[in-house]
Amino acid sequence: MSIISTENLNKTYHESEVPVHALKDVNLNIEQGEFTAVVGPSGSGKSTLLHLIGGLDIPSAGKVIIDGIDINTFSGSKLTEYRLYNIGFVFQAYNLLPVLSAVENVEFIMLLQKKAKQQRRKRALELIDAVGLAGRAGHKPVQLSGGEQQRVAVARAIASNPKYVLADEPTANLDSHSAGILLDIMESLNNNLETTFIFSTHDERVVRRARRVIELEDGKVKGI
């Protein structure tokens, strides 16, 4: 059963004099537990697609349907709450909070969910352990390598048990070794927890590991 589907999804940016059509009539269905890569050259609309699926942006036309509900019918605060409980995000630039330690960064999402302190600390430590950073839980992001920071970001993304994780170029800033470790972790989480992962990527290493590849070109789905 599809947990995410898009219907004639269009996105046009009007930030310059010439409108930019980032997505054109994209129709997709993504099933529970998929490990999917969205690939395509720069400007093909990968990040735009992820932003729309993640409820971070509003489509110019078309629908994003999650669990049978068009998420664009939600109010701003409802959409924020929906993201908090249903979607995990991993960003290319890690985007950890620099003032918090690794474990606090993971805990942060659960704090927003107003979970009890003991419960969130226990789960955060388990997740830190799961991404292989047990000894680095108290380190601040600046004390961690890029690969380690991205592993913390993955732990943060799955801390709330989301329905799906959206990862925008997660390995772009990582060396081969770190990228390999990160993919192993995400694959293992996908297998063990059945968390749906959707990546946008240029990285062949990710594409090779994906079980499904959606190819975009000039805002259109070229191949699935």
Partner: protein, 403 residues
């Protein structure tokens, strides 16, 4: 945790935060110190007037306040003093005979207010006895001794022991007078007082007036900090047929100084804080712009706009409050030090004495000023946080995360 993150965030760019904190602390400290000098000057002018002539409360025959004729005396002054002395707020009371008179010497003449007193009583409410620069305060065997100010002595060109003549109206309105010998010369912080008041023994005035014991005024001194208006009210209940005035009604110009000092200081503080608001807003705006991606991430992962707004407001609040507390602490330290040493204004002594201000000034700030300034800082912190916080709210996560 938003509070914890906000506090940690302000230390991310230590240099910038310390500059803002220092600006607030220094601005606040300097303005509070200058305020404390103004307060001290105002308070000294008031205290100088109270402890020389005015006292906290004066009681008169109601008719005397309209027509300063000695005929309108207080009939039972001693009884009144006995009754009001039971008030616990009262330090002392002194009975006086006050007459407008002409003082003349071989060299010159001047209009003065003659205060006929009992030196023992007067000592307890006035500090003239402590302001004697030459001679003594009625500790003399001279007949008809007089104590006058340096300025008046200079105008009359008289010395200690010189004779002067006081001319005034008696109880029937006829001119009378007598020769007095200078027993003491005083110098208060007010030149004006020194040139227009002379003290004589009340009993000498009775001799010259050819009357029995007679007083026109009862001066009352209260404990420092006592509520003058409520004390006056309780005295009015005891002597309903007398006119009871506080120093505020007797010398409205001094009351005006007290009121305007506070108001002008609040305006002054408001201007300083408004200037600091621009600096804080600018700094927080830079912080928001630098952290656009991070704020976008927070929005993306589900942090509500309300929490983001609160976080930015708290950051600004902490920044301002830290600066304010540092400023208040420095002010307190300086005030404690200056309360021991004082500020030497002897270079300006001549000018200041015209206003009843001493050469050594001891700055002070009333407690309410500290509380009021803290509240003002909190309000301005919130105002300066609004624009950066609204700017943060307007960020679109999809846009900033793409940058």
């Amino acid at each position: 945790m938003v509070t914890g993150i906000a506090w940690k965030n302000i230390w991310r760019n230590k240099t910038r935060s310390l500059i803002i904190i220092s600006a607030i602390a220094i601005g606040l400290c300097c303005s509070l110190l200058s305020s404390s000098i103004s307060f001290a000057m105002g308070e000294q002018m008031i205290q100088s007037a109270i402890r020389t002539r005015l006292s906290d409360i004066q009681i008169h025959n109601p008719k005397f306040t309209k027509d300063k004729n000695i005929h309108f005396f207080i009939a039972n002054a001693a009884d009144i003093v006995n009754q009001i002395e039971k008030n616990p707020k009262l330090v002392a009371a002194s009975k006086r005979v006050t007459i407008n008179a002409m003082v003349s010497s071989p060299a010159s003449a001047a209009g003065v207010l003659v205060l006929g007193i009992d030196p023992g009583e007067e000592k307890s409410i006035s500090n003239i006895n402590n302001s004697i620069s030459k001679g003594n305060y009625f500790q003399t065997d001279l007949r008809y001794p007089v104590v006058l100010g340096e300025k008046l002595a200079s105008t009359l060109d008289v010395q200690l022991g010189s004779k002067i003549v006081l001319t005034f109206q008696d109880i029937s309105g006829e001119l009378t007078g007598g020769a007095f010998r200078i027993a003491g010369i005083f110098r208060t912080v007010s030149s004006e007082f020194d040139r227009s008041n002379v003290f004589v023994l009340a009993s000498d005035l009775w001799d010259l007036l050819q009357t029995d014991t007679l007083y026109t005024e009862i001066a009352v001194l209260l404990n420092r900090g006592a509520n003058v208006d409520s004390a006056a009210q309780s005295i009015r209940k005891i002597v309903p047929d007398m006119k009871v005035d506080t120093w505020r009604t007797l010398a409205p110009e001094l009351s005006y100084i007290e009121e305007t000092t506070s108001v002008s200081l609040f305006i002054f503080m408001g201007v300083i804080l408004m200037a600091l608001t621009f600096g804080t807003t600018n700094s927080m705006l830079m912080a928001v712009l630098e952290r656009r991606r991070e704020l976008g991430m927070l929005m993306a992962v589900g942090m509500s706009g309300k929490s983001i707004f609160l976080m930015i407001v708290l950051e600004t609040f902490f920044l301002s409050l830290t600066g304010a507390l540092a400023g208040l602490a420095f002010t307190l330290i300086f005030l404690i030090l200056l309360s021991c040493t004082g500020i030497d204004l002897s270079y300006f002594a001549k000018g200041l004495s015209e206003y009843g201000i001493a050469e050594i000034l001891f700055p002070y700030l009333p407690g309410f000023m500290f509380a009021a300034v803290t509240i003002m800082v909190i309000i301005t912190a919130i105002i300066s946080a609004l624009f950066p916080a609204l700017k943060a709210l307007r960020l679109r996560p999809a846009q900033v995360l793409r940058m």
